[in-house]
Amino acid sequence: MNTIKKVMQIADDWTEIGALDEIPRQGARVVKCASGDIAVFRTLNDEVFALRDCCPHQGGPLSQGMVHGREVTCPLHDWKIHLDTGIAVAPDEGCAARYPVRVKSGRVFLSLTAQVAGTSTSP
């Protein structure tokens, strides 16, 4: 929680990427960036998460996976990734980069500064 707060304060590169309703519940959409695709997920409870669209296993597009609870299953080999951390569900090991994302008045904002789980966010 603490970490997320810090991120919110630090991230100042918020980009509006669209309306919450444009992302299907239990689904995802892709934001295309010069540096690569970012998958933006929406859970059943309207929580929104963003991860690099690249499975730590073999690079599968996580945006195409099935979203359940706070996890996504990669479409290529069924690895499961925690949406909130980008970390693979054990016993698999690996991590997808995570992007701060927030929803305000039905609009979704994304920071393009990647956070890798486990690394400190303080300067």
Binding site: T15, I17, G18, E22, I23, P24, R25, Q26, G27, R29, V30, V31, K32, C33, A34, S35, D37, V40, T43, L44, N45, Q58, G59, G60, P61, Q64, G65, M66, V67, H68, G69, E71, T73, P75, L76, H77, D78, K80, P91, L110, L112
Partner: protein, 812 residues
């Protein structure tokens, strides 16, 4: 303050329950564990290999002392609990150590039965129960020569073998005239005895021990008939009984064991019990697989989930004596109404007996070749009708058309560590064996999670199970009988299917709420299954849930390893025209398709299409008259045909036309798994109809219908369903077969295993013999097709699900 959970009995059952509990919820209890032995928790099953010297004690440790600290658990090792004060909810150990509990878990295991003869307490008389006993035996083996093992059961023989391997002269004395009479019939027992005698064991059968003689140490054993045999070591291994002394003294109701309910609670609801000390529905258990099932249930209740029930287990036995393969399960002594199928090959030292009742396996004994033990056990627990397997049953699963893996299904034990077991994920035997040891794995699911072996196509499941069995010495935990659909529910596929109809549930949400799903919105396994079941149950009514579909079915194209997609237009019956080929060629060029491939199903695969281009490409294909080939779905795929009578000099019927008619009837239907059809114009069978889900072979007099074939993972030749006279009948029988399969098979179960599971006789009855039933099934199929035969590509070309194909935003 957290509630306090105390475990009495630091053994496999109790600690398994604690581990299961930690998996569900790691912080609801302060946990304290009392164990009479001064160690962590070790794998008692592996005491035999420690005795033989194949393993050392540290190798068989499951939770070492440090593990308890790491998990915040207080371990009182070497402190035997003397009493339970239920009033003040406290346990007190012999040395005065005490602990208060809110919930208490008893897993006191069992104690060896000591025959009450004079001399039973002499030095040199031991039992075979814990590491202490093993060390005593190993010590004796160093200094002494002659050992007598009383008891020719499982435990006694393992002890005898171990002592023999340690260089002792060993005599086994047994009260009855056959060894392991609870697990073996006479034929198998005789083979076993001969093999053990060849190794150097001696046997005295039908003798009753009267006294153990000696002064400072055991010297001899005397029998009822007055004869004596010299002994420096006596191992009493005549049986075990549940250790109920503590429970009994606390006033808990006990019979042979501590009596527990289906929730593993004793008569005091704060006190749970599991493992060898309990009696559940009149049964006591001594093998590890049932104990682990109990542990799961216990953990579920301790975590306050409260829905798991233990309903008893069936168990099987293997003898852990290296080089001797022996398997036993169920009621193997033929009773009234049973039939025996027996194979005996004394030269090879192989004996197999399977006992059938009403065409179902109710017991099995195997000696010498036990590779198929787990298969028989599975058939037994699933109560599978084996009428059709009968002829080949004793030759094993490898003989059921298992062309893909037939030859490597030989002895896993003799395979090299570098032998690849799982071809999909490239996992070798050595890696699996290492993971089983290092990560303490006991079940197929655990091996799958850690190594990925058998987690993809599943064809090596048998090998992995055999590896588990050989690595753990046989007594591993097989998949439970009732297999829940996934970890989100305890219900099995069939239960859910019938509940959907009975309770008229018409949405995934309704099913999950009503059947008390454990996860908020299911997982990647149950959501697609539920979506399919609902779609089949309520055609025209249920609204397909896109988010419950795997990406291929959501995007109507096949995702490739680089994230691009492939497009396969339907080519009816595999027959095309120059105009169609030109159209495909032009579209392929227009969208710069990097690879064009002719598929095995007589179609053309356009590979490497970027997702965003799919709708436009489909629009062009639609305009040229093509519809989706559903090459991406659990759906009707292709109908492969030969040219038939129109061209072929051998053709007997117009196989192409029949194939096209079948495809026009069946396309668009969602199925439990992919379904492939074929029509061959004559018995030369160029369309390979006898390895398809539904195959037609034309003959001069009409059409032969074949079902349940498979050319994939495990090659299976079809079963002959029946012969019919007209193309009209071909369509009707096919529609009825497809509907029966889609209404009754489990999701992701292909026709081949489905036919094997329900039996050909059943399918024949539904589709062939019951004429009005067939017509009803066919009518239901056709009714459902009204809603299914809408080309998804044309719809999407016009804008349906547009969001699926375009990015939300482009940045930078």
């Amino acid at each position: 303050m957290k509630e306090r959970l105390v475990l009495v009995g630091n053994g496999m059952a109790g600690m398994r329950a604690i581990e299961e509990l930690l998996k569900i919820s790691s912080d609801i209890y302060d946990i304290a564990v009392f164990g009479a032995e001064p160690h962590g928790n070790y794998n008692r099953i592996m005491l035999s290999p420690v005795l033989t010297g194949e393993k050392k004690f540290p190798d068989i440790m499951l939770n070492d002392i440090a593990w308890y600290a790491e998990n915040g658990i207080t371990l009182h090792a070497g402190k035997e609990v003397e009493r339970i004060e239920r009033g003040s909810r406290k346990v007190v150990a012999r040395d005065g150590t005490s602990a208060n509990y809110d919930r208490l878990l008893l897993a006191t295991g069992s104690v060896p039965f000591i025959i009450p003869v004079p001399g039973k307490d002499l030095p040199g008389v031991v039992t075979f129960r814990d590491i202490n006993d093993v060390e005593a035996m190993l010590g004796a083996a160093h200094h002494h020569k002659r050992a007598v093992v009383i008891g020719g059961g499982l435990l006694g023989l393992e002890a005898a073998n171990g002592l023999l391997r340690q260089g002792m002269d060993v005599t086994v004395v047994h009260l009855l005239d056959t060894l392991m009479e609870r697990q073996l019939d006479r034929a198998a027992a005789d083979l076993l005895k001969a093999a053990l005698e060849e190794r150097g064991l001696r046997f005295l059968m039908q003798v009753q021990t009267e006294a153990i003689l000696g002064d400072a140490r055991v010297r001899a054993v005397r029998f009822r008939d007055g004869t004596e045999i010299a002994a420096d070591l006596v191992v009493m291994a005549v049986g075990i009984r549940p250790n109920i002394a503590l429970a009994k003294s606390a006033g808990l109701y006990c019979e042979r064991g501590v009596v527990v309910s289906d929730t593993m609670q004793t008569y005091d609801p704060r006190i749970y019990a599991l493992g060898e000390c309990v009696q559940h529905r009149g049964q006591t258990y001594g093998l590890v697989a049932p104990l682990f099932e109990q542990a799961k249930v216990c953990a579920n209740h301790l975590a306050e989930l409260g829905f798991a029930r233990y309903t008893g287990s069936m168990s099987s036995t293997k003898l852990k004596v290296t080089g001797i393969d022996l398997f036993s399960a169920g009621d193997f002594q033929s009773a009234e109404g049973c039939e025996e199928i027996v194979l005996k090959d004394a030269g090879r030292g192989v004996y197999k007996k399977v006992v059938l009742k009403n065409n179902r396996i109710c017991g099995a004994v195997m000696y010498g070749d036990t590779l198929d033990g787990s298969w028989y056990f599975q058939l037994m627990r699933d109560s599978t009708d084996v009428a059709n397997l009968r002829e080949k049953l004793l030759f094993g699963q490898a003989h059921l058309g298992d062309a893909g893996h037939g030859n490597i299904r030989s002895r896993v034990a003799s395979m090299l560590d570098s032998t690849e077991i799982c071809g999909c994920n490239g996992v070798c035997k050595g890696a699996i064996v290492k993971a089983i040891g290092d990560k303490k794995l006991f079940t197929l699911d655990e091996v799958r999670a850690h190594t990925k072996a058998s987690s993809s196509c599943g064809s090596c499941t048998g090998l992995v199970e055999a590896l588990l069995a050989s690595t753990l010495g046989g007594d591993y935990s097989m998949t439970p009988k009732k297999r829940p659909m996934c970890t989100c529910t305890d219900h099995a596929h069939d239960e859910i299917r019938s509940a959907i109809l009975d309770l008229e549930m018409k949405s995934i949400r309704a099913v999950m709420d009503r059947l008390e799903w454990k996860s908020p919105d299911g997982c990647n396994k149950c959501r697609p299954a539920l979506n399919f079941y609902l779609l089949t149950a309520w055609p025209g009514e249920y609204v397909d849930d896109n988010q419950a579909r795997f990406i291929n079915e959501r995007a109507h194209a096949n995702i490739q390893r680089d994230g691009s997609y492939s497009v396969v237009p339907r080519i009816w019956g595999g027959e095309t025209t120059p105009a169609q080929l030109k159209a495909i060629a032009e579209i392929a060029e227009k969208y710069r398709v990097p690879t064009v491939h002719i598929t095995g199903g007589q179609r053309i695969d356009l590979l490497g299409v970027v997702k965003e281009n799919l709708p436009a490409m489909w629009g062009d294909l639609s305009a040229a008259g093509f519809v989706s080939g559903h090459a991406y779905g659990k759906a009707i795929r292709t109908v492969k045909t030969c040219v038939g009578r129109n061209w072929c000099r051998f053709g007997t019927q117009d196989s192409t036309a029949v194939g096209i008619d079948l495809e026009k009837m069946a396309w668009g239907a969602w199925m439990p798994h992919k379904v492939k059809l074929a029509v061959s114009g004559c018995p030369r069978n160029c369309a390979e109809a006898t390895i398809k889900d539904f195959g037609v072979v034309c003959v001069d007099s009409g059409y032969e219908l074949h079902i349940g074939g498979n050319g994939g993972v495990k090659v299976r030749v079809t079963d002959f369903l029946c012969g019919v006279k007209t193309p009209h009948e071909v369509l009707e029988y096919c529609a009825a077969f497809l509907q029966c399969y889609r209404e009754e098979a489990h999701y992701l179960e292909r026709t081949a295993p489905w036919v094997e599971r329900v039996g050909l006789a059943y399918v024949r009855q539904r589709v062939v013999e019951d004429e009005s039933g067939r017509k009803i099934l066919a009518a239901r199929f056709r009714y459902s097709q009204q809603f299914a035969q809408v080309d998804p590509w044309a719809e999407r070309a016009k804008g349906v699900d547009r969001h699926e194909f375009i990015p939300l935003k482009r940045v930078g």
